[in-house]
């Protein structure tokens, strides 16, 4: 506790207490002395502020709730007891939040499961629409190619030319309807309420050869093979499904959970004699997921997070060749932008506000399965180091501080675990620095040296 009481305003100037952590009391007496020189000009309505009601106000007392209302004492936020971690998504969906929940053994309540199920079901329609868009595009491309060829050969073009990407009329009807809904942005109004009705249609669409062909060219979609099962009302999300889901809540706001990690780090285990003893101080963490889609471009909401200890920024490594619609305020409308560049811009915007944060730990998420990589492991690692160095340099050039980087696979619990331990270590180093205790780089389990990368300049 670091609150201190001063009995009179006047003597505060001589207080040697750190002004930021002291509370200054104004006792009635000091007001009296202070105001004895006040001019007598009095207004009736102001009088009530100067009447003494006979007892001195109880400043800071949390027990004093009139009218017999029972309320608990406020624990002062002890900065050591609770470390806040702010997690920012970038463009990526968050899987870590879900893992964190599993990590601390919390089970989802049945309400939460229901919410997740609804969300998975409605997300599935979004994926389906992506597939259908893809199918339309491929169909168009293939048909125009065929037309081109048939013109060369002077053959007669059949009006109802079909190609491998054309779907049957019923499915086409459903597809048009679904895509229209998505275009109006009203998906939430129809799904997941309408899910049960459309389950058989979804199955038909899925089985359509055209969709299967389309699917071969897009492999990001986990839910479609189980399309019918997911549509079913009794569907219960499995752990794997939850990991793949795009978030824990459908809300566009925040999702956050609190959890505590075992305070024993791999290093300290060698010093602990009794491994079965409960951890002396289980550090509590609060993980806050911010959906960057709902909060554009680091607006005012970022200011709320000025006091957090750690900001974790996700970048999807496989995004370097992906495009997404960028939120563009210019009158020219939305434009396509490389996703990696979008992440970078969001990262830069964040830093404008986070200059005071102690450290920034950055994760790189790697979607699994990984596309467009050779199976050669070393190429993966090199790519990771390259991107890591780029971000580290960027961060140092903006803030002059150090950026910590960790690679993890989003859906792989083990690497996410390790990433959490890394964050804890980073926080520990920071604490130890404050206590002027220097743990040399050799002591650390993790390599803190930036120049260790093979690409060091």
């Amino acid at each position: 506790m670091y609150k201190y009481v001063c009995s009179s305003a006047r003597s505060c100037e001589s207080c040697a207490i750190n002004r930021r952590s002291s509370m200054i009391y104004l006792s009635l007496r000091s007001i009296t002395q202070y105001n004895s020189q006040v001019a007598v000009d009095r207004s009736k309505s102001s009088e009530k502020w100067w009447k003494s009601d006979g007892k001195s106000p109880e400043y800071g007392s949390s027990h004093d709730f009139g009218q017999g209302i029972r309320l608990s004492y406020f624990p002062y936020l002890d900065s050591k007891a609770k470390t806040k971690i702010h997690v920012n998504i970038g463009i990526v969906k968050l899987y870590v939040l879900i893992h964190a929940k599993f990590l601390c053994g919390n089970k989802f309540t049945s309400e939460e499961l229901q919410d997740i199920k609804l969300m998975i079901q409605s997300n599935m329609y979004k994926y389906l629409s992506i597939l259908l868009y893809g199918q339309e595009r491929f169909e168009e491309e293939a048909l125009s190619r065929m037309e081109g060829r048939s013109h060369d050969q002077n053959a007669e073009a059949d009006e109802t030319t079909k190609c491998v990407y054309s779907i049957n009329p019923t499915s086409k009807h459903f597809s048009d309807w679904l895509l229209d809904i998505i275009a109006t942005g009203d998906l939430d109004a129809f799904f997941p309420a309408a899910t049960r009705e459309y389950a058989p249609l979804v199955e038909e669409v899925w089985k359509d050869h055209a969709i299967q062909e389309t699917y071969k060219r897009r492999d990001e979609l986990h839910f479609l093979p189980n399309a019918v099962e997911v549509s079913n009302d009794e569907y219960k999300p499995s752990e794997r499904d939850i990991r793949y889901a795009e978030g824990v809540t459908q809300a566009n706001g925040l999702a956050f959970i609190e959890f505590s990690l075992d305070d024993r780090s791999p290093m300290s285990e060698t010093y602990t004699e009794n491994l079965e003893a409960p951890p002396p101080h289980a550090a509590k963490y609060q993980l806050i997921k911010v959906n960057a889609k709902g909060m554009n471009e680091g607006g005012k909401w970022v200011e709320m997070f000025e006091d957090v200890c750690v900001v974790v920024f996700f970048v999807v490594l496989s995004d370097y060749n992906q495009m997404w619609v960028s939120p563009d305020n210019s009158s020219n409308g939305a434009s396509l932008q490389n996703k990696m560049i979008q992440s970078k811009e969001l990262f830069e915007n964040l830093d404008k506000v986070n200059k005071a944060s102690l450290s920034c730990c950055e994760w790189f998420n790697d979607f699994s399965p990984v596309r467009s990589h050779n199976n050669n492991q070393s190429v993966d690692r090199q790519a990771y180091f390259y991107v890591a160095m780029k971000f580290k340099d960027l961060y140092t050039s903006i803030t002059g501080q150090k950026l910590f980087v960790w690679q993890a696979r989003a859906r792989d619990g083990v690497t996410v675990d390790e990433a959490f331990k890394y964050i804890k270590e980073v926080l520990k180093w920071d604490d130890e620095k404050e206590e002027t205790y220097y743990a040399g780089p050799d002591d650390s389990f993790y390599n803190t040296d930036m120049s260790s990368s093979p690409y060091a300049k």
């Binding site: 006040v38 309505s45 502020w49 100067w50 809300a251």
Partner: protein, 378 residues
């Protein structure tokens, strides 16, 4: 029509709109012969003299453990509700400094709070994109927490500001980071109107940071946004804004109606406060204090005194200027007083009868300042 053609026409139309806007701006500027301060001086008005003993801190309300982000007074009975980063709303009796309620919020990231006109409920909103209503008379649950009596869902971005419609406990207006303002019916929890929605004209193009309802004509309200404009809305006509007020060069952080309801004040990231007239649409006055070091601190919060002669403005560097609105002069800096807050003042509010000002700050305290007054020496 091909996509390319459509795009061309869109660009051409935008250019036309922009040039028309420029012409309007110039025409408006040519019609303005003077501002409020110039006119007042020509009428021989003299600035107020405000000594440090004319506005005195008479209460310090302690109890929050995090930065105070927002506060609101009741329309009578001198109670205050304050919202803080520690995830609680506290209801205070301002006269006795006692806390009557301490409400633990479902989402700790609260940005705004409001008292209902009857004083029976409080509303709050924040990063959870929803507005939660608490009935102060309901019983606490087994954990000692006040239950949420209604949650208003529907915004697609954070709720930055909320205010109850005067004399209507069942309606409130919220401003949100999704660029819209919404009028809610609390009894059903549904949106009555959306101002600035997807396909409406005259909508904000960036986060709405503040709303203020006209106390004399509760159909009108003003919203301020990060797109540097303030817009006037009529609640009966949600399809377009009545008027848009340009002039600021930075995000408009706060808007407040002038007591008579014909004007409103704004505070912005560009460090100025401005006074606008809703009937003519003109900018009446700029309140700008030149600083020596060229670092102009943004204005975060404002409030008018009950006569409108005084404008209180809180800045991010800890200053709290009291402006003489007629003559555009700073008469007092509350932030520099010995008894003042130790950190930035984040919210201000005048009591209903205008006898006291409450300031909330990032130093976790609230302070009540009263005017003049005769002190009985004990």
């Amino acid at each position: 029509m091909s996509v390319a053609e459509l795009k061309e026409r869109h660009v051409a139309a935008s250019d036309t709109v922009n040039s028309l806007r420029e012409r309007l701006k110039q025409k408006r500027a040519s019609l303005l012969d003077t501002d409020v301060a110039g006119y007042a001086r020509s009428q021989g008005k003299t600035p107020l003299t405000f000594g440090p003993t004319d506005l005195v801190c008479c209460r310090t309300l302690q109890g929050h453990t995090g930065k105070v982000y927002s506060l609101d007074w009741t329309s009578e009975k001198n109670r205050i509700v304050s919202a803080s980063q520690d995830g609680r709303l506290i209801v205070w009796n301002a006269l006795t400094s006692q806390k009557t309620h301490a409400i633990k919020l479902p989402c700790a990231w609260v940005m705004t709070c409001a008292f209902s006109p009857t004083g029976q409920s409080v509303a709050c909103g924040g990063l959870d994109s929803a507005c939660s209503i608490f009935n102060l008379n309901s019983l606490c649950d087994k954990d000692g927490n006040l239950p949420v009596s209604r949650t208003l869902n529907g915004h697609k971005g954070y709720v930055s500001s909320c205010q109850y419609v005067p004399d209507e406990d069942a309606h409130l207006i919220t401003g949100s980071g999704d660029h819209t303002c919404v009028l809610w019916d609390i009894t059903t929890g549904l949106r009555t109107s959306v101002f600035g929605g997807e396909f409406q004209s005259g909508r904000h193009t960036a986060d709405v940071l503040s709303v203020s309802i006209n106390q004399s004509n509760s159909r009108l309200f003003v919203s301020g946004s990060c797109d540097t404009t303030a817009r006037l809305w009529d609640t009966r006509v949600a399809s377009r804004a009545v008027r848009t007020f340009h002039g600021h060069e930075g995000d408009v952080n706060v808007v407040k109606f002038f007591p008579d309801g014909n004007r409103f004040g704004t505070g912005s990231d560009d460090g100025t406060c401005r006074l606008f007239d809703i009937r003519t649409g003109h900018q009446l006055q700029v309140y700008h204090q030149p600083h020596s070091d060229n670092d102009v601190p943004p204005v975060k919060t404002i409030a008018f005194s009950i006569s409108g002669r005084l404008l209180f403005a809180g800045y991010t560097n800890g200053d709290c200027y009291v402006w003489d609105t007629l003559l555009a002069k700073v008469v007092l800096n509350l932030g520099s007083l010995q008894t003042s807050h130790e950190a930035q003042i984040s919210c201000l509010g005048l009591s209903a009868d205008g006898s006291a000002l409450c300031t909330g700050s990032w130093d976790t305290n609230l302070k009540i300042w009263a005017f003049g007054g005769h002190r009985k020496i004990i």
